[in-house]
């Protein structure tokens, strides 16, 4: 972290250090999970769920949380949102949507004021809590009808909410968390276009026996609680939930957040933690800081390489049955289905975030390799062959996550071998030496090099 960057910040503490302290606080007090994710070679490990949920909160991203019943999927999202957005936990819990097939737009988003309709014949729209909540959490999103999933994702994407011709437009976007059980009866599959909207997906981790014991005893989340304030907030919003008053409501929520932030910090201090929860403007600065983080050349090179290796080389319509005996069967194209443009964007943003988190100068290979499986495993189909290869291997994550991570490790190894050739190939392309490039593509035979010949 250079001096200029530090000087630029308003506080005397580097933002990433402040946010890492929030992580420590969550991990030791609010949500326990094994710290299985290493970022970089020498640095320490983190609980991936807590790390990515905190990053998603700051980036206003979208995260899918997988886990079994009662493993803390919703709890983690609610507690972390309450802490980062500095609103009482009860308020976040009240605005959490529970997925079930009977959910309707009226129950989720807004409804007509029936009294006004009856008395005055006027259509008055009353918005629900959801549009005003600083974080959107949908519990068991796969139990929600697909149309509703789509509607909410679209509206959260832009933070523009519409109902019966009235529209609420908010300046800022907000984070979105969907929790999901592994498939069972009563759940519907999330369709690929919807899965693709989630930047990252994390799983609840296995628990160390000591942590398990702590969970058994019960986690004290009173540091985030204030039922009275939450009730006041809900009452205020329910009274002021007209479109023309949306600005006032937003301002009110921000003001509550400003004051409740101090309450949380004070409570944390009494527990021996020096926390500084970033306010709205500071959070915005953090987001911009992350977005403007530089990418290393190697980051771009590996992404270029991976992007080409994943295509099916026997035709644009991928079909894993074609992989039998195929010349390219040893590449990632025979393991996973595709990497969408949205996925590449998520990978880039979250890699920057992880580099920022770690206090590194730029987002490089280590950050990319850390983020890639989390950004891809939920959105890509995995071939049966790959699944069967890894099914029997001991692991602490799901088969799907492991399969994607394992395939990506293979790509990285190949890329390391081809890296210098890749740079040479780009130089040839830059100089317009097409014949040389063609020759190189033929000799190397890897899809990336062949792709450079495409017009």
């Amino acid at each position: 972290m250079n001096l200029e960057k530090i000087m630029f910040m308003e506080s005397d503490e580097v933002n990433s250090v402040r946010v890492r302290k929030l992580y420590e606080f969550v991990q030791t007090n609010l949500f326990f999970g094994d710290e299985t994710l290493s970022v970089g070679e020498i640095s320490r490990s983190y609980n991936p769920l807590v790390l990515f949920t905190i990053l998603t909160s700051f980036l206003n991203g979208k995260e899918l949380i997988f886990g079994d019943y009662g493993s803390g999927k919703t709890t983690s999202a609610e507690r972390i949102s309450s802490l980062i957005k500095a609103v009482p936990l009860e308020f976040i819990q009240a605005s959490t949507i529970h997925g079930h097939p009977e959910q309707t737009e009226e129950k989720l988003k807004a409804t007509l004021d029936l009294a006004a309709l009856e008395r005055e014949g006027k259509e008055v729209i009353r918005w629900k809590l959801l549009p005003f909540s600083p974080a959107i959490i949908i519990d068991e999103i796969n139990r929600l009808p697909v149309g509703k999933q789509s509607m909410i994702l679209n509206e959260v994407d832009r933070n523009i909410w519409s109902y019966r011709g009235e529209t609420l437009i908010f300046e800022d976007t907000k984070p979105f968390f969907g929790t999901i059980n592994y498939q069972d009866a009563g759940t519907t599959l999330l369709i690929p276009p919807l899965l693709d909207r989630f930047d990252v997906a994390v799983e609840t981790t296995m628990l160390h026996p000591v942590r398990k014991r702590l969970v058994r005893r019960g986690v004290d989340d009173s540091v985030l609680r204030d039922p009275k304030l939450a009730k006041e907030m809900i009452d205020y919003i329910m009274e002021m939930n007209l479109s023309e008053k949306a600005g006032e409501v937003t301002k009110y929520v921000e003001e509550v957040s400003e004051s409740f932030r101090e309450v949380i910090e004070e409570r944390a201090r009494s527990m021996g933690f020096d926390l500084r929860v970033p306010g709205k403007d500071e959070a915005e600065k953090i987001r911009k800081e992350i977005e403007s983080y530089p990418l290393s050349t190697d980051f771009e090179l590996l992404m270029d390489y991976l992007g080409q290796e994943v295509y099916c080389h026997l035709g644009i319509n991928k079909d894993f049955s074609k992989c039998n005996g195929c010349h390219y069967a040893n590449y990632i194209c025979s393991d996973i289905y595709a990497i969408s443009n949205r996925a590449e964007k998520s990978v880039t943003l979250y890699s920057k975030a992880v580099a920022w988190w770690n206090g590194d100068e730029e987002a490089g290979i280590l950050h990319l390799v850390t983020v890639l499986p989390f950004a891809l495993w939920h959105r890509t189909e995995i071939s049966d062959r790959k699944r069967s290869e890894i099914r029997e291997i001991e692991k602490e994550v799901s088969d799907e996550f492991f399969a994607v991570k394992d395939s990506l490790a293979g790509v990285k190894k190949r890329w390391e071998e081809h890296r210098s050739l890749q740079i040479e190939a780009y130089n040839l392309l830059k100089r317009g030496e097409e014949r040389e490039l063609e020759k190189m593509a033929e000799l190397v035979g890897h899809p990336f090099f062949k792709s450079l010949l495409r017009r």
Binding site: G147, S150, I191, G325, H418
Partner: protein
């Protein structure tokens, strides 16, 4: 021992580096002969006998084998095609293996500058006359001293010099390997090929055989399947059907979506207008009244991207005597029908078939491969479509299906058919006009059907017309 392993490891990596790191990352030394397998997690299997006590030679040996993946034969399909092209030679596998080594070695020397392969041939044991020939040939083309060859061998080398081994275009490859076989056939003795077709995994073999359909015509493909099937335990039943199925994979056709997704939901409430269907009326939002400006309706929209929106299809297939017999030559009717069926089946829909000539042979909608059997079935009789039976068939199905008829137009009971079709809401008619274009009677019958408003007609004269076919959807059978 450890030292030897280190040397092998280091030499293997050096060879990989020189070949720009092919994705074959491991090797295993075995007591038997060297082998090469295409497929996932490929590793080189190196027979202990092939390990030569010279580092450069060893590197050449690794490179030679790695180049089987990188350059030639490149994939399993090529191996099978080479075996097939050599079907008249008893020692075809050995010849093919030797030929592949020739190509691989020459590519290493001339395209990649990896001359260690010459060292390999200098140090490797000579097991038969074919090995002497190989060395003599390499000696001639490289100018390096490798072997002392007899006059007879040298004269064979003269013949081999006429072959351009590095021209790997399919048509040249086929000629080259046959010419090569004629030169080396009687020299082959005492060696095991590295790639043994009968040892290839069933799934890999099947897929490679399927892919070969793209490169062979229908008759050749049939012969190919029979030949490879005999040689291995993999019997490809009905190769002609398989050929059509593989060819059909080349084409996607447009199927007009009934809905983007297959399920709709009330997305919006709008003013009810008097020409709207009463089923869209929303009594709750309209206060139970039907007054202009107050009455409301639901507007339905698709769920984003849900699959399952495909209706089932029924293909009414003319297999009368005027149509091409798919067993004798390429039938574009069958190919077109396979393309349509495949597009529906791959999207999770079911396909039914009514194959008609003198009688209707009907198959209810199914996702089974049996659909293709009914489509390729050739009755070869008159052209009479039993419309009563077809109507009963559609009634039995009960649900809405997409109806596609494929015919050359020679329908004898055209009045009945015309009457039946005019009562349908929509029909996609594929007119196979290759052989009947000039026949006035056939054209007139098709023109009669074309005049029906609900009929979309696509003309197919040759294979290039197949991708232009499209299937229009309809809501109900009858308008």
């Amino acid at each position: 021992m450890e030292f030897l392993e280190e040397i092998l490891e280091e030499t293997f990596e050096r060879a990989r580096r020189k070949l720009y790191y092919p994705p074959i990352e491991r090797f295993e030394v075995v007591d038997g002969m060297s082998e090469f397998h295409f497929g996932r997690r490929t590793k080189l299997i190196i027979g202990r006998e092939d390990l030569v006590a010279n580092k450069k030679a060893l590197e050449g040996f690794f490179a030679l084998n790695l180049n089987h993946w990188a350059r030639h034969p490149y994939d399993l399909k090529t191996v099978l095609l080479e075996e097939f092209w050599l079907k008249d030679f008893e020692k075809r596998s050995e010849i093919r293996d030797l030929f592949d080594d020739f190509v691989s070695a020459l590519d290493l020397i001339f395209n990649r500058g990896i001359e260690e392969v010459i060292d390999y041939y200098r140090h490797a044991p000579t097991r038969g006359k074919q090995d002497v020939l190989m060395r003599a040939y390499l000696q001639r083309v490289s100018g390096e001293r490798i072997v002392k060859a007899s006059e007879e061998i040298e004269s064979r080398v003269d013949e081999l010099m006429k072959i351009d081994f590095l021209d790997l275009r399919r048509i040249r490859l086929r000629m080259n390997i046959v010419r090569f076989a004629k030169v080396v056939d009687d020299l082959i003795e005492g060696f095991e090929p590295k790639i043994k077709v009968d040892k290839i995994a069933e799934d890999d073999l099947r897929q490679a055989m399927r892919e070969a359909a793209w490169e062979l015509d229908d008759k050749e493909y049939e012969a190919f399947c029979m030949f490879i099937g005999k040689k291995t335990d993999t019997e490809m039943k009905k190769p002609r059907k398989l050929w059509y199925m593989e060819r059909a994979r080349k084409y996607s056709i447009y199927i007009q979506p009934l809905a983007k997704t297959g399920s709709i939901y009330p997305s919006e409430i709008k003013e009810f207008e008097f020409d709207d269907g009463i089923e869209s009326y929303n009594p709750v939002e309209s206060y139970g009244k039907l007054i202009p400006g107050i009455a409301k309706k639901f507007v339905y929209e698709d769920f984003e991207g849900i699959s399952g929106g495909m209706a089932d299809a029924v293909i009414v297939m003319d297999s009368s005597g005027s149509m091409t017999d798919p067993e004798k030559e390429v039938s574009y009717a069958v190919l077109g029908a396979f393309v349509i069926a495949r597009n529906y089946l791959e999207n999770g829909a079911r396909v039914g078939v009514v194959n008609f000539s003198n009688r209707n042979i009907s198959l209810p909608p199914t996702r089974s491969e049996i659909v293709f059997d009914h489509l390729i079935l050739y009755q070869g009789g008159g052209t009479h479509l039993d419309v009563h039976e077809l109507g009963e068939y559609l009634k039995r199905i009960g649900t809405q299906v997409d109806l596609i008829m494929i015919t050359d137009g020679g329908i004898e009971n055209i009045e009945e058919v015309e009457d039946f079709i005019s009562r349908l809401r929509s029909l996609t008619l594929i007119w196979i006009k290759r052989y009947v274009n000039g026949l006035k009677e056939f054209r007139e019958r098709i023109d009669r059907l074309k005049r029906i408003r609900s009929v979309d007609v696509f003309d197919v004269e040759n294979e290039a017309d197949i991708p232009s076919m499209a299937v229009r959807r309809f809501g109900d059978f009858y308008g």
